[in-house]
């Protein structure tokens, strides 16, 4: 059965590591839905988070291949429910949304988003959450014909597993 698998890898912060990771997906003809690379809590080690829709057998093969790569210190795959993960999105919204103050407040409060910039033509909303939550707000604004721009980050994750366990795996 195909579903979304999130691969989390701790890697040496070095040239070509990311290519090696994505090539393991490319080799098996799998599209990457989202990808995020950022510095981890260990200096010189980056966290790579990749989500892709595939089968368990395939993701196991990918992870096993990546586990053998020299500059990948630790790698495993997860389902969404195994991780605390968030994405962030920015929404560019036509300023006429302010015409109806109560509806605007309602949207802000309901979606847990905040205004980070405002001018005569548009305002920018920022929201973090699961992909679903982000999509929901997007759909809503689109439906109201107010959305003029949209951008979403990759996943930022933390394991439910304890820090100590993970540190042991990495060092």
């Amino acid at each position: 059965m195909k579903r979304e698998y999130i691969v989390v890898a701790f890697v040496n912060n070095q040239i070509s590591v990311l290519n090696r990771i994505t090539s393991a997906y490319l080799k098996r003809h799998i599209n990457i839905e989202s990808l995020n690379v950022s510095e981890s809590y260990i200096k010189g080690v980056s966290t790579v988070v990749i989500s892709a829709i595939t089968t368990k057998e395939t993701i196991e093969m990918i992870v096993n291949q990546l586990a053998n790569a020299i500059d990948i210190l630790n790698v495993d795959f997860y389902l969404q429910e195994d991780l605390i993960y968030k994405e962030m999105a920015l929404y560019k919204v036509a300023s006429k949304i302010l015409d109806n103050k109560s509806s605007f407040d309602h949207i802000l409060n309901n979606s847990n988003s905040r205004v980070i910039e405002i001018n005569n033509e548009f305002l920018i909303l920022e929201k973090s959450g699961s992909r679903n939550e982000l999509e929901k707000l997007k759909d809503k604004l689109e439906h109201m014909n107010l959305l003029t721009g949209f951008s979403r980050s990759g996943n930022v994750v933390l394991h439910r597993e304890s820090m100590e366990n993970l540190m042991q795996k990495v060092s």
């Binding site: 040239i15 070509s16 290519n19 090696r20 090539s23 490319l26 080799k27 093969m61 096993n64 291949q65 586990a67 053998n68 790569a69 020299i70 500059d71 210190l73 990495v170 060092s171």
Partner: protein, 565 residues
């Protein structure tokens, strides 16, 4: 006092010396001139073999490595030199052959400008290297070379590529060398649980009525030949080899069951299907070994011993996976093994062999009525002439499968062939590398007329470097293996598999290589003896029956139960 500074090119050579390198295969070019310039000075410390094509530099390094167990080294220039190495690197990757491939790269400030002969070698080779690194400054050289050799030979071995920029070659640096010590447990397997798993394995083995060991190249890489033999003898367990595992146990050993897979022997393939316990050592259940995995070894539990965790449960479900070095794991299992007679099982093996002899082997070794030579006869006669002592290096095709089926091996590291990638053109350069690695052993390249022409230019290398390799060309004027498939599965539609060939004897003569052509079986032994008594390189062209097939055969995707004769 400050240390003497040397340039990066010299630092690279000094690093290679520190890693014990004395042989390399290469081809110069503009971007790598600084390195070759230093090599001019260091010519007394390195045996540099000038090949005729960079792909063959890699294959030669592979052959050298497979024959000696050492890391093979090859060198090429930037751009086309580097891209020419890709096939060889991919071959080494598939067959876990430890090599370090050093290719030049344009100067750092020119990277990404499509400078003359710039190719993004790192990106191109990522999927087929175990590790790669681009050196941009001379000071990095010692540590990267040390790491490269460590990675190439440790754990599951494989190819490592170093992209050496011109900047790093010419920059001045102080030289200081330290062998690489990994910070994390790279390739060093935590062997803590081996002993408990070994106990479990021994129990499964002792309880088994029909056990079969399948030995892969991992046995040879690990140096576990003695342990393998002990395990077989102590438990009275038959041993089958994969193509890559051939020669890990002498073919004359009474417990040697033959080779498994697509063109393997009947006995071990049938035994796989009957077995109640497969003990897989250093092999990866490739599709060429298993056929249809859903119907593979239906009655067997599987003990899988391997150094690469990624191979467990990948193709075949494993009941007991033991991660570790084959020699260590088998040695741990050994003391707990009980000897069992298993008379029925050995009778089964003998009967299957008798059946294969009757149905296939006797016929193949009879040849044609007109006295023409079959490939089976040629390989059989060669094997007898060298008394099983030679290193047989093959190319890819029918002659490769005949070599696997009809060669005898007394010693380990005696069968060198391209298994995983099936690279035509591999045979001749790999044989050159092997001969240079072990000059005291007889090295015979067994090649087809198609494959030989994919690296024919290496006759020049043989001539220039005086490599005493014997070449047995099995010439059927066809791309035989493809023709066989066309005959069996595509209604004999021989689409572009017939070959109009040059006069190979004349070609050998042009390269000053002794040669002969033999066309009749009655002259075969005499020609082989003549070849073997000749001191230097020799090409023996054997004209073989044109439309001979390798049997038995498990058609691609079929089950081992559906062997065709």
């Amino acid at each position: 006092m400050t240390k003497k500074k040397i340039n990066g090119a010299e630092a690279l050579l000094l690093s290679l010396l520190k890693e014990g390198v004395d042989t390399m295969f290469g081809y110069p070019g503009g971007t790598i001139i600084p390195l070759y310039d230093q090599l001019y000075t260091y010519a007394d410390r390195f045996n540099h073999i000038l090949v005729r094509h960079e792909q063959c530099a890699v294959h030669a390094a592979e052959g050298y490595s497979r024959a000696t167990g050492k890391v093979g080294v090859c060198i090429a220039t930037a751009g086309p030199g580097a891209t020419n190495t890709v096939t060889g690197i991919a071959d080494a990757y598939m067959d876990s052959t430890p090599i370090v491939c050093i290719t030049a790269q344009v100067g750092v400030e020119k990277l990404g400008t499509n400078f003359f002969q710039e190719a993004d070698t790192i990106s191109i080779t990522i999927p087929v290297t175990k590790w790669s690194y681009q050196i941009t400054s001379a000071s990095e050289i010692p540590q990267i070379v040390a790491k490269a050799f460590y990675i190439a030979r440790t754990g599951r071995p494989g190819p490592v590529l170093i992209s050496l920029t011109k900047t790093a070659q010419v920059e001045m640096t102080e030289f200081e060398y330290g062998h690489y010590r990994p910070i994390n447990v790279l390739g060093e397997i935590k062997s803590a649980n081996i002993s408990s798993l070994a106990k479990e394995a021994a129990k499964m083995i002792n309880e088994s009525k029909r056990p079969l060991i399948i030995a892969g190249q991992g046995v040879i890489i690990s140096g576990a030949e003695r342990q393998l033999c002990n395990l077989a003898e102590m438990g009275n367990i038959p041993v089958a080899c994969t193509l890559m595992g051939l020669s890990s146990i002498p073919t004359s050993h009474p417990l040697f069951a033959g080779n498994v897979g697509m063109h393997g022997n009947l006995a071990p393939n049938m035994m796989t299907q009957q077995s109640d316990l497969i003990i897989a050592i250093g092999m990866r259940f490739s599709d060429r070994v298993t056929g249809d995995t859903a119907r593979y070894a239906p009655n067997a539990k599987v003990i899988h011993i391997d150094i690469d965790k990624a191979e467990f449960n990948k193709n075949i479900k494993t009941h007991l996976a033991i991660l570790g070095d084959a020699a260590e794991v088998v040695a741990t299992i050994l003391p707990k093994i009980k000897c069992k007679t298993r008379t029925k099982w050995s009778t089964f093996m003998k009967e299957a062999w008798a059946r294969e002899r009757g149905a296939v082997i006797d016929k193949a070794l009879t040849g044609s009525q007109k006295g023409d030579i079959s490939m089976a006869q040629a390989v059989d006669a060669l094997s007898k002439a060298v008394g099983g002592e030679a290193i047989i290096v093959t190319d890819v095709g029918q002659h490769q499968m005949f070599s696997a089926r009809y060669s005898k091996f007394n010693k380990t590291r005696s069968m060198i062939t391209s298994g995983g990638l099936g690279t035509m053109g591999y045979g001749l350069p790999a044989a050159i590398g092997a001969k240079i690695g072990v000059p005291d052993r007889e090295v015979v390249a067994v090649v087809g007329d198609g494959g030989l022409q994919m690296s024919l230019q290496e006759l020049g290398t043989i001539m220039q470097s005086g490599v005493g390799v014997k070449i047995v060309l099995l010439n059927n004027s066809f791309l035989g293996m493809v023709r066989q498939w066309q005959e069996l599965f595509f209604m004999r539609r021989y689409s572009f598999t017939h070959m109009v060939n040059p006069d190979f004897v004349k070609i050998a003569q042009a390269y000053d290589i002794e040669c002969e052509r033999v066309e009749k079986y009655k002259n075969l032994n005499k020609s082989l003896e003549k070849m073997l008594s000749h001191k230097g390189a020799y090409l023996l062209e054997i004209k073989t029956i044109k439309e001979e097939n390798v049997f038995p055969m498990v058609p691609a995707g079929a089950s081992l139960d559906d062997i065709i004769f």
